[in-house]
């Protein structure tokens, strides 16, 4: 495959940045998208140019490190996959592919295609956990009965890898699918009830302070989410938040 790549290049956080065109040839349709970028970077290094900086780690769709806004969609045109799982067979020979970083005020660009997603970490620190004593006398989790339906929904919510595709896809850069998933995975389990009120109030407060936008229920986040996190989680977070506001 011969392709034209339009890639966002930005030297550092303070640089203005611009789209730069690259031609690349002999790309196998069986390559992953990141392998295609590896090929490009090898060529750039051989020419003495700066390689394109992009996030990646596990390359098997689990870690949530890879990002990229490809041809106008987070993680590209495929569904239910992260960028590292996206294959070049999704494109045609001769295509022009636009590659941009995830755009949000709360996700500032560090370099090229790498953005700072530590705002998600700060939201997690605000309440995305349960306080359990793990000093050796922890109660076996299986000793607490959990409704099967709730267990399944909690597990689905917990599959969120925090990649930020929801924020990138949302026209408002809202983080409510991410926060909704993190709130839901505990709200559905007995272990999460103890800190339920503080959790949702603190996580939503932190989300707002980070500068994410408001959810307008377009559903783009759910469609683009590589883990298929459902909008039901946002509705559950809304309920939890309203309930907690009345209590607190």
């Amino acid at each position: 495959m011969n392709l034209t790549l339009k890639i966002w290049r930005q030297a550092n956080a303070n640089d203005k940045g611009k789209m730069v065109d690259y031609k690349i040839s002999d790309i196998s349709p069986d390559m992953s998208f990141l392998e295609m970028l590896d090929v490009l970077n090898n060529e750039l290094i051989e020419k003495g140019e700066q390689p394109v900086a992009f996030d990646h780690d596990c390359r098997e769709g689990i870690c949530g490190s890879c990002s990229l806004y490809i041809n106008g969609e987070a993680h590209g045109p495929d569904r239910g996959v992260t960028t590292c799982q996206l294959h070049m067979r999704m494109f045609k020979d001769g295509d022009t592919i636009t590659i941009e970083p995830f755009r949000a005020t709360a996700f500032p660009v560090i370099k090229d295609l790498i953005v700072d997603r530590t705002s998600f970490d700060r939201i997690q620190h605000a309440g995305g956990f349960i306080s359990v004593n793990t000093s050796g006398n922890t109660i076996d989790a299986n000793a607490i009965p959990v409704n099967k339906h709730n267990a399944d929904d909690a597990f689905s919510a917990a599959t969120c890898i925090g990649c930020g595709a929801c924020v990138a896809s949302c026209k408002n850069s809202s983080a409510m699918l991410f926060v909704g998933a993190k709130v839901s995975q505990f709200a559905l389990l007995p272990q999460g009830q103890v800190e339920a009120t503080d959790r949702v109030l603190n996580m939503v407060k932190q989300m707002d302070e980070e500068g994410f936008g408001n959810c307008t229920n377009t559903g783009a986040c759910e469609v683009e989410c590589p883990k298929g996190i459902s909008l039901e989680n946002i509705a559950r977070m809304n309920r939890e938040y309203l309930k907690a506001s009345l209590k607190g």
Binding site: V204, T216, V223, N238, L242
Partner: protein, 228 residues
């Protein structure tokens, strides 16, 4: 509880409540207006009641106006915050791949409806306030000095839609209203936290509401234009 309106979820909840209130009002407005097609006398009687009953005039009407203002102001507040959340736009964005046109353009359909409300107030509400509260004529009669002249409400409505351009403007506004409701109805329920086993049924009802009510208003406007 005091800071709820300072949070994104609280603002969305308030926006949804005002939307649900306005949708109930719209249904009531339509129910009265459709009477003008089937029975001018009934339409006149109901209009006179709504226009003179104290609870409607001094309680419900101010609440409605506040509801409309709140919905628009909050809409703009949310829009400004949302725009600030992404200061650099994508060079290429394929929004149609993951969301409906209606959901992405609520601000524009909302602005079209706001423009329509200004026209609608100029056409009906302002003259009504002028007659009742500035001229002091609460009779509702065509000729206040002649009790046999009959109520003026149906005549005024019928006469307004003689003008083709007004009918066209109203019909275009109703299309925007339909587009706004097609997303707004289900969105309001999602914002209040209602996403459960009844959601599919509610979405179906919402779609029917979003099409039938505006289409009904179009029918009323066309009926009065073509029967003039």
């Amino acid at each position: 509880m005091s800071g709820i309106l300072n949070s994104s979820i609280g603002r969305k909840f308030a926006m949804a409540l005002s939307a649900l209130f306005l949708m109930i009002f719209l249904l009531q407005h339509f129910s009265i207006n459709i009477l003008s097609v089937f029975s001018p006398d009934t339409f006149n009687e109901v209009s006179h009641f709504m226009g003179t009953f104290w609870a409607v005039q001094y309680v419900l009407q101010p609440i409605l106006i506040l509801g409309v203002i709140f919905h628009f102001v909050m809409g703009f507040v949310l829009e400004i915050r949302n725009r600030n959340a992404r200061k650099i736009n994508y060079a290429k964005n394929n929004g149609s791949a993951n969301s409906s046109w209606m959901s992405r353009n609520m601000i524009w359909s909302g602005l079209a409806i706001l423009a329509f409300i200004v026209l609608h107030f100029y056409d009906f509400w302002a003259p009504e306030i002028n007659v009742k509260y500035f001229k002091g004529d609460m009779s509702g009669l065509i000729d206040p000095d002649n009790v046999d002249s009959g109520f003026r409400y149906w005549e005024e409505l019928h006469h307004k839609f003689q003008d083709m351009w007004r009918v066209i403007l109203y019909c275009v506004a109703f299309i925007f209203l339909s587009l706004h409701l097609l997303h707004g109805f289900s969105s309001a329920f999602q914002s209040t936290g209602m996403n459960n086993k009844y959601s599919k049924g509610l979405q179906g009802f919402g779609k029917a509401y979003a099409i039938i009510i505006p289409l009904g208003f179009v029918f009323i406007a066309l009926f009065h234009h073509f029967t003039h």
